[in-house]
Symmetry: none
Subunit: 208 residues, 2 copies
DNA sequence: TTGTTTTGTAGTATAAAGTCTACAATTACG
DNA sequence: CGTAATTGTAGACTTTATACTACAAAACAA
């Protein structure tokens, strides 16, 4: 049982490792603290499963997932997230994640998730499964909001956390006008007029 | 060595526990998953230190901290947070926390923090310490939530409803710079940094 | 496979917001 | 009652944000 664990929080890594070791006493669990490390280690080991946080500094977990999908198409990747939120889950699953579970999962449930993805099945954290199902159903109906691209979503998150355009530009190493462009596209797609709408939306949907 | 650990994420609790057990093999580490449990357990045990997440469902970690301060004035409480944010840290320390550390702390550093608060000293996560120090030094920040004047409150309401400075100026028939001045005063008085903070506050307190 | 839309990125010019400063009117405080 | 702090208001100047435009690369559709 060889597991690669990626999360920027040392405490979370330690917790995961412990939970996994409790279940698989002879398992080999290795940690990475960021996406680069994750990619590197993913390539030079034959893991049974990868468990990765969705949001990490630098290149995000999603991007890493993308890469891994290219080089190891069948390697199960379980995405962990702080946010039991559809937005994130859908994105993760679209990027080829085998499962999505929130960090407030009881550890039995985590073990469960790992077991499922090992057998090639998908796992979705219970609190989400239901609302996700309805949402996918609704997707057939005329949808008021167009889906944001990944980059747009990055910007969306930062904006709704109250970051300014220039802070975001800094953070993502892009020009401020680029961020403005993203912002404008986000507003159009989501039918908002101001950042305040955006923040309100994010708060009401517990995205932040 | 008796430690009470509170966090709504099972994984984080597990990680903390493990880190502490590595350091104090004969320690007695107990977990709570929410603020109620924390308060209850805090009262019926004689702990050496409490480590608690700042944001948990139900009553927040801060509120719990407040309670604990009343009944156990000398018991060290170390606040953990996902956000290495001044806003949170200041609030935590004002509420009587012995320390504030972000969850991305390396575990040696966490152990360090625990050691410090055990000896009655304060601990602040390194990434924050500096900016916090300068901020406190500047003494620019008056007490939070100072009363707003009537005019300021008018502006506050409009801002938190997402109106722009120029809209407000229009609305109140004042110059835009006047509104900017009010806004600046509001931010200082309420210890906010951005409009986003303001909107968040308004939403959380059901002011809009 | 080719044409079309979407996405990622940015420049230029303009509009808006923010900072710093100021000052009279009002209010609170010793 | 007199002095210090707060409030209402705004100008000048600096920094940021936004609209409009553009274009290559990628994704998608026919």
């Amino acid at each position: 049982m060889k597991v690669l664990v990626a999360d920027d929080h040392a405490i979370v890594r330690k917790g995961l490792k412990q939970i996994l070791l409790d279940e698989y006493p002879f398992g080999e669990i290795e940690e990475c603290a960021n996406a680069e490390e994750l990619l590197q280690k993913a390539n030079n080991g034959k893991w049974d499963v990868i468990i990765s946080d969705i949001s990490m500094p630098g290149r995000s977990g999603l991007e890493a997932l993308h890469q891994i999908r290219l080089s190891h198409p069948r390697l199960p990747v379980l995405i962990l997230s702080m946010h039991p939120e559809e937005q994130y889950a859908i994105r993760a699953l679209k990027a080829g994640a085998s499962g999505y579970c929130s960090k407030d999962l009881a550890h039995e449930e985590l073990v469960n998730a790992v077991r499922r993805v090992l057998t090639g099945k998908k796992y979705i954290t219970p609190t989400l499964a239901e609302s996700l199902a309805t949402q996918l159903e609704e997707e057939k109906q005329p949808e008021p909001y167009k889906r944001l691209s990944d980059r747009e979503f990055d910007v969306f998150k930062l904006l709704s956390a109250g970051k300014s355009v220039s802070e975001i530009a800094d953070n993502l190493s892009l020009s401020t006008t680029t961020i403005s462009t993203y912002r404008a596209r986000i507003l159009v797609k989501m039918n908002f007029k101001t950042n305040a709408d955006l923040i309100r939306y994010a708060l009401e949907n517990k995205l932040i």
